[in-house]
């Protein structure tokens, strides 16, 4: 069997088996991989990890509420051209000079295979994904101004992330491989933490995990703490030199885990009940 490139996680990104499978399926089928999941489960990090593991360049297209599909393909800078023409600058008749590639165009015209991350696609307008159907399917687009077709030399690996703020259109979904990142369970979370900290005291880790998952399970918490918060918290605990026994009792630096006033109040109340 010929050994194709496969993704096995990287040194600083712990990946679950299912996610690894999904990445490899998407790469083998040459389809975009759509990643959904709670904030803080490392959706964006995934693309970086893949790019590192496969040693390929990463192109990130950050989507904002004002982003249009056209922005990702190319921009024809008419105003600059008009401006130049009035001052008789050289090369005004060369339209190519004024066509600038967007992120998608950049990925297509690259000589090597690249990883294209379309980050938070749900931020854009509802119709946005539909406008990209053809481009992602055929990996090409046409520039009428220069009468050129930009076609991907090497089909990029496309990773798309979504926070599920908007539902994506069916036609778009049908073309993707879908994976939902679940919040990591305890063992996986321990693995993730160990990637970020060398020589972390096991006792400290145990009590951190206990408190962390206890807080996450409180039903009245509005914004549940996620991976990045627990990592910040451990850092704070280490710098503060808090002994492991004190963590459970006092929950110091709770503000690192919880960002809302109401949540901190809820924690205080539950803690009293917890102890009593």
């Amino acid at each position: 069997m010929n050994q194709k490139e496969t993704f096995k996680g990287s040194n600083d990104y712990v990946v679950s088996n299912e996610l690894m499978n999904a990445v490899n399926i998407a790469m083998a089928l040459e389809k975009p991989l759509l990643i959904k999941g709670e904030p803080g489960t490392g959706k964006t990090m995934l693309a970086q990890a893949i790019s590192k593991a496969l040693d390929k360049k990463l192109i990130i297209w950050n989507i904002k509420s004002t982003t249009k599909a056209q922005d990702g393909l190319y921009v024809y800078d008419v105003v600059q051209r008009l401006y130049d023409s009035q001052f008789g600058t050289d090369g005004v008749d060369d339209i190519k000079k004024y066509v600038k590639m967007g992120k998608l165009g950049e990925a297509f015209s690259s000589d090597e295979q690249v990883i294209l991350l379309i980050d938070e696609i749900d931020k854009a307008d509802l119709e946005f994904p539909n406008d990209l159907l053809w481009e992602l399917d055929k990996m090409e687009f046409y520039i009428p101004e220069t009468k050129e077709t930009v076609k991907a030399k090497k089909r990029p690996i496309v990773i798309i992330t979504s926070n599920a703020e908007k539902e994506l259109p069916d036609a778009f979904l049908r073309r993707c491989i879908f994976h939902y990142i679940q919040f990591p369970d305890k063992p996986l979370m321990e693995e993730i933490i160990k990637v970020h900290f060398d020589n972390l005291d096991q006792k400290l880790l145990d009590s951190v995990m206990e408190v962390f998952y206890w807080i996450r399970d409180l039903s009245s918490i509005n914004k549940k703490p996620s991976t990045s918060e627990v990592i910040d918290w451990i850092q704070a605990l280490e710098i503060g030199g808090i002994p492991a026994e004190k963590i459970k009792e006092e929950i110091p630096f709770a503000g690192v885990l919880l960002k809302k006033n109401e949540d901190l109040d809820t924690l205080e109340r539950s803690r009293r009940r917890f102890r009593a």
């Binding site: 299912e18 998407a26 089928l29 959904k36 049908r174 879908f178």
Partner: protein, 398 residues
Amino acid sequence: MFTSFFYLLRSKGLDVSLNEWLTLMEALDKDLAHNSLTGFYYLSRSILVKSESDFDKFDGAFLEYFKDIQTYEELPKELIDWLNNPKEKKNNYDKAQDEKNLSLSLQEIQKMLLERLKEQDSEHNGGSYWVGTGGMSVFGNNGNASNGIRVGGVSRRHSAMQVAGERQFRDFRNDTVLDLRQFQMAFRRLRQFSSRIDAPKTELDVDATIDETCNNAGNLKVVYGRPRKNTVKVLLLMDSGGSMDYYSSLCSALFQAVQKSSHFKDLKVFYFHNCIYSMLYKDPYCMYGNWVETEWVLKNISSDYKVIIVGDASMEPSELFGSSYYNYGARNETPGIEYLKRFKEKYKHLVWLNPIVDLGWRTGYWRQTYDAIKAEFDMYPLTVQSLDKAIKKLMVSK
């Protein structure tokens, strides 16, 4: 291959298209399932299912198609302890053995396990017959066999039956009741953009201006266009008080979402108690005098409004069918159902949202009015799925 699985998925309400199915076939050709049921489970799920809210349906269908999971008898503790701590992990995947294993049914495997447990008296690691760790036998922990029973240990290579059996995505099913954000998301869909409105051309059309200016050899030529605006107008009628108090938080979420949806061209809200009679109230307290005539509403609010009625449709039958029912001072000879029918006649786009998801305790005469109103109107319970349907219904002209 598995064509009946395709139809089973579709019959379970999963919207799997032929395209996706062909993709799955292509993936199987490329051996992306690694010849295992677990592999097939993840492969088919990531290709066929595009929302975590459908995972549970998929799990259900998968279990049904590939038979139910089985429980097995309890095992001695020493066995579990040893299996939980694998001594070695060999790369000893053996295809022939795996195929042999795969031909076994779960019952056979279980029977074998019980027999083997009686025979076995020592630890085994890496083999293909005994219960052990890291091996090719159909039972044990951390092994490489594609099927079989995992004995103890945390599952690294989750077996498909178990993953599907855990049904851990039950919470994500979208037939649950809604929160504010979900309402907002739904109402955002209630829009119909048009630039064909009676408005002056006030908006600078940048692209056209640039094009025209370029065509005009660089002399500025400004182009204006009509703004594109949402033309959807909404009339919201809410039942208030009485039996609706159970659903007050749900209804207030709905109300807030409608109120905050600033994209409607016009929004009118009126309240009624139990059923619509000669008067509609301006606030949820339904106080004497603070009202407008229902007649006036029917005459003055044009038929292109989209009407949403929110109510539990549960009342004393005489409140719906009887005439001259006393209603907070508003008295009339016309029964409530008549008024409801008049609304239905006038407004082509009308849905009835009902906070009752489960009829449960509503029997007897409560049920009678519910059924009568349901027969007249397109009634949708307030869940994610049916709210979507209701909004779609409001948008199409049928």
